[in-house]
């Protein structure tokens, strides 16, 4: 029989055992910009990263976070870090779609990677290297910096679970999903974020999506709508990034660079747990005010087909998108055997499991 060794190895260990530290006493003060206002939980994630770095470095690297608009407008975060006006930034990469369409793939893809998927693909399957290559073109060093799980579906005043229900529905959703919904026959308006609440309340639009339950809760969409149409297929996993001006990053002593790397991973881990624990609480609260309805199976399959057509058309148009999506899809395919083999052990409460609901 063939000889079998250990099945894997921690690649970082090879580097770690060779590192010779020259401990530095240099004190570095940085500024971090972001597209988040203080009311959004994303802001707390960015602040968490800054705190982690300060704590781990005993204050030698002090990154001061600035919310949206304090130093630069929300959507100028990327340019500001690229040019070095601020040394650090936090984002949802999809905002930089106009710089390169492929940024969206590192943020969330309709029917694409979920939280687990992003973690494995980014850290183990070369996703992070692709991400760093893309940001690197703009003079930026990037790391995964927050995974917020699945988004909520649409807050709606129209009950829509079947394919026909979405025809003619007036809704607000940005980005790739907007194009997808448009091709499904909905009439989608890219209302600016600040206008969504009023537009939804006054019936200017029928439905809107914003973010995950815990992030949506303070917005009070449940007070002005009747339904939450689930699941949020447009974003199965919200992936954020933390990023740095390359020149500023290169000037850091090696120990601080390791601290940044480890704190980014810690933020990725913490954010997922924190947001999802809050999501569970928020969705219970939503349920008191609105009915949570599920899109039926056939409709989901139709959506999936339309989404594939759309994504294929993007791949044909943008080689960078093709490279990233192909890699993500290859991972999804690779992982399918294991996903199937392990299924049936979903940790439902006892009553739900024994009633026959054994998978997700």
């Amino acid at each position: 029989a063939e000889k079998r060794g250990k099945f894997g190895s921690d690649k970082r260990h090879d580097i770690a055992k060779r590192v010779k530290f020259k401990p530095s006493n240099k004190k570095v003060r940085w500024k971090m910009v972001m597209p988040w206002s203080k009311g959004l939980l994303f802001y707390d994630i960015a602040v968490h990263f800054c705190d982690s770095v300060r704590l781990a470095s005993a204050g030698r690297l002090d990154i001061k976070p600035f919310s949206a608009g304090e130093l630069v407008p929300a959507m100028q975060t990327f340019d500001a870090v690229s040019k070095g006006s601020a040394q650090a930034g936090h984002d949802w990469p999809g905002y930089w779609k106009g710089k390169n369409e492929a940024f969206v793939a590192f943020a969330s893809v309709p029917f694409g990677l979920d939280g687990e998927g992003y973690n494995i693909w980014l850290y183990e399957k070369g996703g992070m290297e692709m991400m760093q290559e893309l940001y690197g073109r703009f003079g930026i060093y990037a790391l995964p910096g927050g995974q917020c799980g699945q988004e909520m579906g649409l807050f709606s005043n129209k009950k829509a679970t079947k394919f026909e229900d979405f025809k003619g529905m007036r809704l607000r959703t940005p980005g790739w999903y907007m194009d997808i919904m448009n091709s499904l026959g909905a009439s989608v308006s890219p209302l600016p974020g600040g206008e969504v609440y009023l537009a939804l309340e006054r019936g200017v639009i029928d439905a809107a999506e914003f973010s995950s339950p815990a992030i949506n809760y303070p917005m009070g969409f449940d007070e002005i709508t009747k339904y939450a149409i689930q699941p949020g297929v447009h974003q199965p996993g919200i992936q954020c990034a933390v990023f740095f001006n390359q020149k500023a990053y290169d000037k850091l002593p090696e120990d601080l660079r390791w601290i940044i790397d480890i704190c980014a991973r810690e933020t990725q881990l913490w954010s997922y747990n924190w947001i999802n624990s809050l999501n569970a609480e928020a969705i219970r609260k939503f349920k008191e005010k609105i009915e949570i309805v599920k899109i039926d199976k056939e409709t989901l399959i139709e959506f999936r087909k339309t989404t594939k057509q759309y994504l294929d058309s993007l791949k044909a148009k943008y080689p960078d998108v093709k490279k990233v999506l192909d890699s993500q899809e290859a991972f999804i395919a690779d992982y399918a055997e294991w996903r199937d083999a392990r299924s049936g052990a979903t940790p439902w409460p006892y009553e739900i499991y024994v009633s026959g609901k054994i998978t997700e």
């Binding site: 949206a68 608009g69 630069v72 407008p73 040019k83 070095g84 601020a86 209302l191 009023l198």
Partner: protein
């Protein structure tokens, strides 16, 4: 240099620099540049990349689109002379009361405040229209200037208002969205108008020489029903516009920006019916709109640079620590913030004040758990005084520009004092009864 030192130095430099008479927007940008460079170790590229990013962000700010549209609306309304008819009607209705013409000015200004978002047009229109009538009836000069300046200034408090648009654009909070601010400003606006009305009525009854009634013959030219007929007829155009703007926002047909567009369209229609719609009017309205919009936006740019550098230096934390960290009573902190705004209002214009103070004061107000909408409204009502307080007050300049030469700056300064005092009373009333601000928005927007 410590953040505390830089914070104080930056404000001191600004105060000195603005007295040199260079345009305020450029001065703000220059002071921001100086301190930005000190703060970032003289990294010129880093600073100006940040400034350019900020400019670009302003050019993409959808909320602010309402500004030129509201200004255009005011320009068209002004040129179609719709306020003349209402003043003429009220002249005979209220003229026979002591102080009646003054009361008529307040009513006309209040009604038109609900159709325009700026102040220049109201003060100028009333200055041209009402001053001759008030003068010829023997109204005291100081009183006349006070009435017109104060009532004309209501245009920027009673919604629609570009002050609220700027405020909403600055905070980006749901609580202080432009829609909420508009709804919240309705009662405060009416309260100020009511205070002016009462004050004129009482003062002129105590001392009839301040504002004598028109003669019996003049008042008797029309029958009572004719008078009311004229009044109602002249109220139709402004009411239609109020419906087009506030009506569409509250009924959910349009966002505040779109409502501004509907209002501008409405004023085009009015100009058409008044046979004032021609190429010349369109052109002149367009020129004037550009001039005012760019003036406000240039201040926006300079003010943005200033607040950006100020926050970047840690100035926001310095002010917050000084106000909150020292354990002062929250009401005292509120008073200090209001006092600072009032003092700034003497020297700088409202947009610059908002741009500099809101990013610093809003977080403090939130930290002290003041209702953000209520706090914002206190800021806006407080800023009403900035239009009137000498030496630098827009309303005073606009009025001086159109008033007959016998009005000196001293008449105007003396005349507006009681009205500044009334504004502060109004501010106090809102402090004591927050529901006056928060109730209407809660009805309209849940």
């Amino acid at each position: 240099m410590s953040a505390e030192f830089l914070t104080v130095a930056m404000f001191a430099t600004l105060i000195f620099a603005i007295t040199l008479g260079h345009p305020l927007a450029y001065t703000l940008a220059a002071v921001a540049t100086l301190f930005g460079l000190i703060d970032n170790g003289f990294d010129v590229a880093g600073l100006f990349d940040m400034f350019v990013n900020n400019c670009w962000g302003l050019m993409n700010n959808y909320v602010l689109v309402a500004i030129p549209l509201f200004i255009l609306m005011a320009q068209l309304l002004d040129r179609s002379k719709v306020s003349d008819a209402l003043f003429e009607a009220l002249y005979v209705v209220l003229g026979s009361v002591r102080g009646g013409l003054g009361l008529a000015v307040v009513v006309v200004c209040t009604v038109f405040a609900a159709t325009t978002g700026i102040i220049g047009a109201s003060v100028v229109a009333m200055g041209l229209l009402a001053t001759p009538a008030l003068l010829s009836k023997g109204y005291q000069k100081a009183m006349t200037s006070g009435i017109i300046c104060a009532a004309g200034t209501l245009g920027i408090l009673i919604p629609p208002s570009i002050m609220m648009v700027v405020y909403g654009g600055l905070t980006g909070l749901k609580e202080t969205s432009v829609g909420n601010l508009f709804a919240g400003a309705i009662f405060p606006g009416i309260i100020l108008a009511g205070l002016y009305f009462l004050y004129i009525f009482i003062r002129c009854n105590l001392n009839p020489e301040l504002g004598p009634p028109i003669s019996k013959e003049e008042a008797g030219k029309y029958t009572a029903s004719q008078k009311w007929g004229m009044t109602f007829k002249s109220l139709i155009p402004p009411l239609a516009l109020i419906l087009a703007v506030m009506g569409t926002i509250l009924a959910g047909v349009a966002t505040p920006t779109e409502a501004a567009g509907l209002g501008a369209t409405g004023s085009l229609v009015l100009a058409f019916f008044n046979k004032k719609l021609n190429w010349e009017v369109l052109k002149q309205s367009g020129f004037a709109t550009l001039k005012t919009t760019s003036m406000v936006m240039m201040l926006f740019i300079g003010g943005k640079f200033f607040s950006t550098v100020f926050l970047s230096m840690g100035g926001g934390d310095v002010v917050a620590d000084a106000l909150i960290g020292s354990g002062l009573n929250r009401w005292l902190v509120l008073f200090i913030m209001m006092f600072i705004v009032f003092m700034m209002g003497m020297f700088i214009d409202w947009a610059a004040i908002l741009l500099v103070t809101v990013p610093i004061f809003m977080p403090i107000a939130m930290e002290l758990e003041f209702n953000p909408l209520w706090f914002s409204m206190l800021m806006c009502v407080n800023l009403q005084t900035s239009f009137l307080t000498p030496p630098f007050g827009y309303a005073l300049f606009y009025f001086k520009g159109v008033a007959p030469p016998e009005y000196t700056m001293m008449h105007i300064y003396r005349g507006i004092m009681p009205f500044v005092f009334l504004q502060l009373i109004g501010l106090t009333v809102l402090c004591l009864f927050p529901e006056l601000v928060t109730w209407l928005p809660s009805i309209f927007f849940g």
